[in-house]
């Protein structure tokens, strides 16, 4: 049974009471604890300590605050008035215990030291094991009379104050500890907590409280001691953690502009560094505790990042432009526990405005440099091709073709150049451009076969500024826009993928196009000159080339004859190349008539390009200045030799057999050596003989007669 005098009065307030009222009760009654009642249920539901209130006293507005705003404690322990010693043991260690009557109504409360005092002074059967219990706790407990004589103590006291048990009873607590504090407790009834007492032999943290009798007279003091080195160690550890935290904050602030730490639901727990203000409508103090997922309606990108990190459970990097034009990179990372469950989300933000600007400038500079390089190459190319562009011919076939081209060049109609590989289609295209009205405008060459299919569309039609990356880089104009008002030479047009053929057709028909990623139609005024060595008609039949595009391209078809069909051009072209390469390699080589004959007699499957290459090789490798036929022959591709099979399967007149053999030998020699002089040399007869006999053979052939042995 708890005696009435032992129970303290429980002062109560409601949640709506002001902090001022609370503080007045605590000051006036010297109460460490005030209870809070629930207005609806009319019962005590929480309590507040004076130490909970103290931090708020610095706030100038504290008086106006409500009790509800303070940190209160709901962990209440109840205790029946009829309780015995065992019940006291059950609540031993509790800070505050509410005492109820039989009907459960509160009669008052007990503090921790009240329970301790009861247990220490109780003369019951439980006293021995109660003492054992007190001896086992890691705190020193002393009971004294008003003069400081030590009446009771536990084993920890002996260890902490370093005095043998026999001497403790002769020692006064006020002398052992702090006489000034002890006097205050005894004289004024004050409870004094957390006093550091250090002497040569001990270092303790002491709590002092008065002991009162049933008349509220002070009959002594209870002193609770805690080992200071232990507390100090803990404090030092806490300080170290605090310092580490400060260092970490400093480091993080230096590395990134802003770091946000959120819990697994998206609630902002803390941030480091100064916030990038553009993204926050609220003051930074108000942001702690805010769930960023709730900002969805405000359109902030944080919500999207948090959502994405939660969904993917892996890193998410996002760039965003702020309201003031800052470029910000935000990287969201999930932090998971051992079981893989999301624990935290860390979002690191960095202002990358300068980096983006520098990158843009660098890219721009690179593009400009590439453009200048291209222009320089174009100029060099023009210079070079102006030298090589001369169309050299003597044949009537070419004369006729050039007259036709002169007429064609006057118009801006689409031209399709066809001819075998190496006939010089680009030279013809440039000639049309040079002779045409667009010669002061750009000539842009695109090799449709040399650009990867994935790139061809953007190369031809370009793409819009910042259309795909969100960055403010300039787009790409594309070849069509580059050739505006000029000529676009589409070499190897047969290589154009079917998908792009449709787009090209649209440009040819409508004279307009839409760049990639763009939405606006761009008008283009371009003359198209297309070229191919493929048979487009056959490709149309095979479904490899669009018929409508084919007809759109063949407005003016020009067929360039292969070199073998105009052999009279070969000596002239050969001498032109000889002159060019002599200049280039600083040589002064010449071609003998035999050499020219060999060149003229050859079929040139690789056309002018092959002829050019052979002459270059001859100029570079020639040991002597005069290039003879025998220098050339090994370089030419061996043509399929006419097969002369011996048909001597029966007896025939000797004269007839001799003539057939002679025809066969002369034909073989002419196929191999091309000229009558060389063939004569090889067969060991005069050139006039060979010349005469070979002419007879040719005539026989033209009459359709068999040469050599009859089959």
């Amino acid at each position: 049974m708890v005696s009435k005098w032992f129970v303290r009065k429980a002062h109560t307030l409601s949640f709506e009471s002001s902090v001022n009222e609370l503080w007045e009760i605590m000051s006036h009654w010297k109460e460490r604890v005030v209870f809070i009642t629930d207005a609806v249920e009319d019962k005590i539901v929480a309590y507040i300590r004076n130490t909970d209130v103290m931090p708020f006293l610095h706030d100038p507005e504290w008086e106006k605050r409500q009790v509800r705003e303070l940190p209160f404690h709901t962990d209440l322990t109840y205790f029946q008035r009829e309780a015995d010693v065992l019940d006291f043991f059950k609540v031993f260690g509790e800070e505050v215990v509410l005492v109820q009557d039989q009907e459960g109504k509160p009669e008052g409360y007990l503090q921790r030291e009240d329970i301790l005092y009861y247990l220490l002074t109780s003369q019951s059967a439980h006293t021995d094991w109660m003492r054992s219990l007190l001896n086992s706790i890691p705190m020193g407990i002393l009971i004294t009379d008003p003069e400081g004589r030590i009446e009771n103590f536990n084993a920890e006291v002996v260890r902490m104050v370093r005095v043998v048990p026999e001497k403790i009873r002769d020692t006064r607590a006020n002398e052992l500890l702090d006489p000034h504090i002890f006097r205050k407790v005894i004289n004024n009834g004050e409870v004094i907590l957390n006093q550091i007492i250090m002497t040569d032999s001990m270092a303790v943290l002491a709590d002092f409280a008065p002991i009162r009798d049933q008349h509220a007279h002070i009959t002594g003091a209870i002193i609770v001691l805690q080992d200071l080195p232990f507390i100090e160690k803990m404090a030092l550890e806490m300080e170290a953690v605090k310092n580490l935290n400060t260092d970490l904050q400093g480091i993080l602030s230096s590395i990134y502009d802003e770091i946000l730490v959120l819990d697994e639901k998206g609630v902002l727990l803390r941030y480091s560094g100064s916030l990038i203000k553009d993204f926050w409508a609220n003051d930074k103090e108000q942001l702690i505790g805010l769930n960023l997922m709730e900002l969805e309606d405000e359109g902030t990108f944080f919500t999207a990042i948090v959502k994405k990190v939660m969904e993917r459970m892996r890193k998410v990097s996002v760039t965003q432009k702020s309201s003031s034009g800052k470029n910000v990179l935000a990287v969201g990372n999930p932090i998971v526990d051992e079981s893989g469950r999301l624990e935290r989300i860390v979002i690191a933000l960095r202002d990358i405005t300068e980096t983006v600007m520098l990158k843009e400038e660098l890219l721009q500079a690179k593009k400009m440099s590439a453009q200048y390089k291209q222009e320089l190459e174009h100029l060099r190319d023009q210079q070079q091709s102006a030298k090589q562009r001369q169309l050299i011919y003597a044949s009537s076939k070419m004369e006729k073709l050039m007259n036709y081209i002169r007429k064609v060049a006057k118009s801006s109609s689409t031209v399709l150049l066809t001819g075998e590989s190496g006939v010089g289609k680009e030279v013809f295209a440039r000639t049309i451009y040079e002779w045409g009205a667009r010669r002061s405008q750009p000539f842009v060459k695109v090799n449709c076969g040399a650009i990867p299919e994935t790139l061809l569309e953007s190369e031809l039609f370009g793409y819009e500024k910042g259309a795909f990356t969100g960055a403010s880089t300039s787009g790409k104009p594309g070849y069509f826009r580059m050739a505006h008002k000029g000529v676009l030479f589409l070499d190897e047009i047969a290589e154009l993928p079917l998908g792009l053929q449709v787009k090209l057709l649209r440009v040819l028909q409508e004279r307009e196009m839409i760049p990639l990623g763009g939405s606006e139609v761009v008008e283009v005024d371009v003359q198209i000159i297309a070229a191919t060595n493929k048979n487009l008609e056959r490709m149309v039949e095979e479904g490899l080339f669009r018929e409508d595009l084919y007809y759109r391209l063949t407005v003016i078809p020009i067929v360039i004859p292969p070199l073998r069909e105009r052999p009279e051009d070969i000596p002239l072209i050969s001498l032109h190349f000889l002159h060019t390469f002599n200049e280039k390699y600083e040589r002064s080589t010449q071609l003998s008539q035999d050499a020219l004959d060999v060149l003229e007699a050859y079929s040139w499957p690789g056309n002018v390009r092959e002829l050019q290459n052979i002459i270059e090789r001859l100029v570079v490798t020639a040991d002597e200045e005069l290039i003879e036929a025998h220098h050339i022959s090994p370089m030419l591709k061996k043509e399929k030799k006419r097969k002369f099979k011996e048909r001597l399967t029966k007896i025939m007149p000797l004269k007839e057999a001799t003539r057939a053999m002679e025809e066969q030998l002369i034909s073989m020699a002419m196929d191999e050596y091309k000229t009558t002089s060389l063939a004569a040399k090889m067969l060991g007869v005069s050139q006039s003989t060979i010349s005469r006999k070979y002419q007879e053979i040719q005539e026989k052939r033209s009459r359709g007669e068999q040469v050599g042995f009859k089959g």
Partner: protein, 79 residues
């Protein structure tokens, strides 16, 4: 002396779903090449193009994944 390598982020301009991935990590891509195809929430098909030539870095998204506006899909390391 090591050469400065500039990286260019490939960014989804709009929120949407990755419909096509046309590049691989380590692959060399050309300026103007389509690396991803995105279908926006409005159903618009948007090619995401590289504005530089270089090597593709780690892919940050998978086929069919929803992306948010401004999200970095990969980076291209310019030479």
């Amino acid at each position: 002396m090591s050469r400065l390598v500039l990286k260019d982020e490939i960014i989804a301009r709009l929120a949407g779903t990755i419909q096509q991935i046309s590049c691989q990590t380590g692959e060399y891509v050309q300026e103007g090449e389509t690396l991803f195809v995105l279908v926006s929430q409005e159903g618009e098909t948007i090619p995401v193009i590289s504005r530089v030539s270089g090597k593709v870095g780690e892919l940050e998204v998978e086929l069919g994944e929803d992306v948010i506006a401004g999200m970095i899909l990969t980076v291209v390391y310019m030479e």
